[in-house]
Subunit: 331 residues, 2 copies
DNA sequence: CGCGTTTGTGAAAACGTTTACATCCGAACC
DNA sequence: GGTTCGGATGTAAACGTTTTCACAAACGCG
């Protein structure tokens, strides 16, 4: 509440001097400094980030935005933790928003970002052609994409080798003797979906297994769509003996569909999903998954963003992290 | 980027007129309005929330803060969704922060809140005596507590009937014939822990079961502490035949400890935990839990906050929602 | 002792809004 | 035809900072 004005009045100096005391940088003699600091304490002064941000040129707000598609998805929550830890370490505050895999909400929050003059934004774009994000990038706002990438625009990017992850997962199932492997994709215009699909197809091709189109379904990354689509696949005349599912939430949904039908995993149907879960070990059965280093994705993205804020003209960088196939008992 | 200045120049009017067009409220003749609106579009004008917030008196920033202890805890994620939906519906932006059950972080973010001149804050206090939160309340900042309450200070509050939830859970175990019921609490100075403990003790008392102090352990709400403490209990000379655990994450940890020892649930040990999980149904075995209406907690808290922002002097209100015992197969 | 140089401090502008107040102009009134 | 009114628009102050520039005093030096 107390402003520089009031502090200055109490210390009988000018507001400029108070500001200088606050920002340490400038010269102010020890005696005055002491007086000012006393006044600061007396009034319980708290600087206004708002005023500061209004006055300052870009890149010094110490505020960045993170827009995640679904805060209830543990994968994104883990990314958020990574981002948050790196931000907090650099004393940056984080404006965290949940876009709910919804373009309108995303646009609303992107507007908030520019409107709040944040220093930069971390986000997984809605899909490869996300217009609102591209627009934002073009305004010169520092943007780091995580997990998903944009097709036409080059930005800083921290992603996971989705092709490799999917290839390994499918190969693992093939090795176990499966030839009818169902796949539940995510939204198809998302870069991760595209890459994972490639990995699956290549693994099949390499093993000389023909692709059964009816075993491929596209979901929307939500639990419910996993349940529905897994149900469809299991109810097929010639159902798959294994399921490869593109994210954690849909995998949980699929598991529910399997249980509902009284089928046994992995005897009746094997399952491997993308994204590890803290409780994957305690699921019935413990789930084989492609583990993504989500925390690191977040942390590195934030560090990358800080670099870009410091040096806005540096060329965009891509970091690709490796996933890991964690074999438990669902395969 | 474009400011009122530039728009005004292009439309050949004063900035006041532009501002009036923007805020609809005031009179401006149709012709000028059209000209201004064209200029607005041409320049792709985006208002600066920062400047606006600096200028305006309290309560009109259309920005509120939410500080949650752990973004990776599905219970809080669900609360966050409730808050976020209600905020978005009212066109409020949400400054979401993760305090990591850490007082320093919490203080940092509380400072950010005042410093950012948010209109209000929703949070579960760290514990009943959380000094930083009390301080904030005393500054007159609208604050709504969720889930946990403060001991000495009366604020708006949306909570769950924890006593009832715990009482029901313990009674259910007693009914199933258990007399040695282990309990893993959370941090003991948190209001929810205190209430749940009361519920457990009363249920035992009502059934005439003496309390075994060695069956009561205090954790920190994290998965790891659930694993550790459940391990301790199970390794006791005279171990409990049932476990009542105070939150979801510790329950998952406890489940791991049980599996690790090769014990069967519920044959060797029954388990009931607080907080439902989207995948509780797919755990091994499907978990009996006390379900809290987390989404509603969040939604109602945000609505309450909006009311307080509109009418800062209204007396504090408490809403208590009912939990529900969901019986699955772990008991 | 006079003159440049340094050092500490203050005055004021700027950031982008909102809004109270002033101004202008035409219409309505008597 | 003045006077008054009211409606549309402009002017300028204010919000709380940072920062440039100016200024005064002290200092160093020949």
């Amino acid at each position: 509440m107390a402003s520089l004005q009031e502090v200055a009045a109490r210390a009988k100096v000018s507001i400029a001097t108070v500001s200088r005391v606050l920002n340490k940088s400038d010269k102010v003699v020890a005696e005055t400094r002491a007086v000012v600091e006393q006044a600061l304490r007396d009034l319980g002064y708290r600087p206004s980030r708002v005023a500061r941000r209004l006055r300052m040129k870009d890149g010094r707000a110490h505020l960045v935005g993170l827009i995640i598609p679904d805060i209830q998805n543990p994968f994104y929550a883990e990314i958020a933790r990574g981002v948050e830890d790196a931000a907090y370490a650099a004393e940056y505050a984080l404006l965290l928003c949940n876009s709910d895999e919804n373009l309108d909400k995303e646009r609303f929050y992107l507007d908030v970002m520019t409107s709040e003059s944040v220093d930069g934004v971390v986000l997984p774009p809605f899909d490869e052609t996300d217009a609102a994000v591209i627009e934002l990038v073009k305004t010169g706002m520092p943007v780091v994409c995580v997990d998903r990438s944009l097709a036409k625009v080059k930005t800083d990017l921290v992603e996971v080798d989705n092709y490799r992850g999917a290839f390994d997962a499918a190969s693992h199932l093939i090795e176990k003797g499966h030839r009818n492997i169902g796949m539940i994709e995510g939204r198809t215009h998302v870069s991760t979906s595209r890459e994972r699909r490639r990995g699956y197809l290549d693994a099949l091709a390499e093993a000389g297994i023909p692709v059964r189109k009816d075993l491929i379904r596209a979901g929307d990354f939500r639990q419910e769509s996993g349940r529905l689509l897994a149900g469809e696949l299991l109810d097929l005349r010639k159902p798959p003996t294994a399921l490869f599912i593109f994210n954690n939430l849909m995998t949980v949904g699929a598991l529910a569909a399997v249980h509902q039908r009284g089928l046994k995993v992995p005897k009746d149907v094997a399952i491997v999903g993308f994204d590890d879960l803290p409780w994957a070990e305690s699921l019935d059965p413990p789930l084989t998954v492609v583990r993504q280093p989500a925390y690191d994705v977040g942390r590195q993205a934030m560090e990358m963003l800080l670099k870009r804020i410091m040096e806005p003209t540096r060329p965009p960088v891509t970091v690709r992290l490796l996933p890991e196939l964690v074999i438990r008992r669902s395969t």
